[in-house]
Symmetry: C2
């Protein structure tokens, strides 16, 4: 048991990132049932749907699980009430200030972690009373920091200032990358991309197949004039890139983005015109696997790679 597995009462210090359109109750329950911490990604849900996913997750697993709530969305406050009402054991908040809801959640007995992409937010997190901090690097899929700090530089910087357990995220998809994160001083890892390409994720099968075909250089951090987001370089990305290269402003970019792009790609399976959010670590993946296999491989690879390391 370490600081992260002890905090969440789980077997392995492995958290499955809560992601829009990809991480419903089936994925979260599978990860928790296999010794990690599964998170339901509420960012693409309505209140009713979130309630349904929490209830189904609880039926499907008798281990701790959690919900990720991106605070940037207008329904964040409703979701906070729901997780308190439903006595969800763990909440990960992201994309906003930890000051607003952390004490309310903790008073209800919920463990709280907050996601940051820069060491300058560590003290805000600790002042708010979070139980853990997730430091997420440039490699990560989806929304990302403006500083472009990679996991390799971000994690040691956060570690210097951080007293609560530290969870590394971004670029972690196998045992070796997990070991690297722990070498940097992390107490655990949050993994997204690897779990999107699992049998249990709610991503469209077209998206899962595309992910395991991606090679080095097939994703790029885009929309830096709005909120940076790492995208697969498909036709939609190419339109974004062309606009950005000619110096387009926010309004032009927002018009191209339109509504429902992420659902169109990740959930409905349109690989050309959809917005496909995924991490750089996709290049490391070869096949879609069941969660049980992913968890087992992570642990075996981690321990093997650790035992190969020698003093210098």
């Amino acid at each position: 048991m370490n600081r992260v597995s002890g905090l969440f009462n789980i077997t392995y210090p492995i958290v499955q990132g809560g992601m829009i359109w990809c991480s419903g109750w089936e994925l979260a329950a599978a990860v928790s049932n296999n010794g990690g911490l599964g998170l339901i990604g509420s960012g693409s849900m309505t209140s009713d749907l979130l309630v349904e996913h929490i209830e189904k997750c609880r039926q499907a697993c008798d281990k701790p699980f959690g919900v990720n709530i991106p605070l940037i969305f207008s329904n964040a406050e409703d979701f906070i009430r729901i997780v308190i009402d439903k006595k969800v054991p763990v909440v990960f908040t992201s994309a906003g200030s930890p000051a607003k809801y952390t004490s309310m959640l903790k008073e209800s007995g919920i463990k709280v972690a907050h996601v940051i992409a820069s060491p300058k937010f560590v003290s805000k997190c600790e002042d708010a009373g979070v139980d853990a901090i997730v430091a997420e690097g440039f490699e990560a899929g989806g929304h990302n920091g403006f500083e472009e700090s990679t996991t390799l530089t971000l994690v040691p910087l956060v570690k210097e200032q951080c007293t609560v357990p530290l969870i590394a995220a971004g670029g972690i998809a196998n045992g070796r990358t997990m070991l690297a994160a722990m070498a940097l001083g992390a107490d655990g890892v949050q993994i997204g991309t690897r779990f999107v390409a699992s049998e249990e994720s709610s991503a469209h099968i077209n998206f899962k197949k595309r992910i395991v075909e991606l090679e080095d250089g097939d994703t790029e951090l885009s929309f830096k004039k709005l909120i940076p987001v790492r995208l697969v370089k498909n036709d939609f990305y190419k339109k974004v890139k062309a606009l950005e290269d000619k110096g387009a402003g926010r309004s032009e970019l927002l018009e191209l983005l339109g509504k429902g792009r992420a659902k169109l790609g990740m959930f409905d399976g349109d690989m050309s015109d959809g917005e496909l959010e995924i991490g750089q670590a996709s290049a490391l993946l070869k096949d879609i696997k069941p969660v049980a296999r992913i968890m087992k491989d992570l642990v075996v690879e981690y321990n093997n790679a650790k035992n190969e390391l020698k003093n210098i």
Copy 2:
């Protein structure tokens, strides 16, 4: 002894990156004298100056050292002749094809490593007969790959294909980041930024002082329409960024860049109008140190961090 220290006949698998304006004979000799492999950075030198630095390095140290030759420069062929003529034990080539000079160097008994930023160049390197490959991630200072692959994702991808010893570069500046690189499967590391901020580097003192003050987010990969290069966000960078944001083309960017920008900043110490190339790992540095101290700290931190790792 491991694959990298054995290959170069050095004590620790630590290579000091050859960098323009910063790594002359004093730095290279200091690193080699302290058990690593020091590299003279020829990229900012004339032929006469390179000969002088090789001779002085040899006088100052009785251990193996090397020269880095960026193949993109017009005088690369002259430099190849010089290192052969002067019997330099090791050459690192970068920014070009390894096919052109590797066999010529090897026939002269020189060990050759080539720097790449994408796994798609591994087979070219091995076909050319290199003795080692350097995989350099997005975190690195100076010129960088178009793919923006970070060290965390790049090193395992290169490792999958690579049969020769693998050296990781980009974002490595202390024992923990070195350990992370070795956890990813690297056999050794190449370190640049940390050695620029050493007493023995030939960087201007203004630049060294600026480097150790840099915080997270204070560098950015720029000039992506020319050759990507990681820069400190000073006044010059701001002019570059403003042009890029409004969609400027290559000719406009080249005009702003002008001639001698890198020397002006890194060697002459103009912190406003100079081009300041440095890695993200600068945020991890607190003080300018002598090379002997840097090497000692790297080894102690590495072994301590390694011994703290536990199985999961």
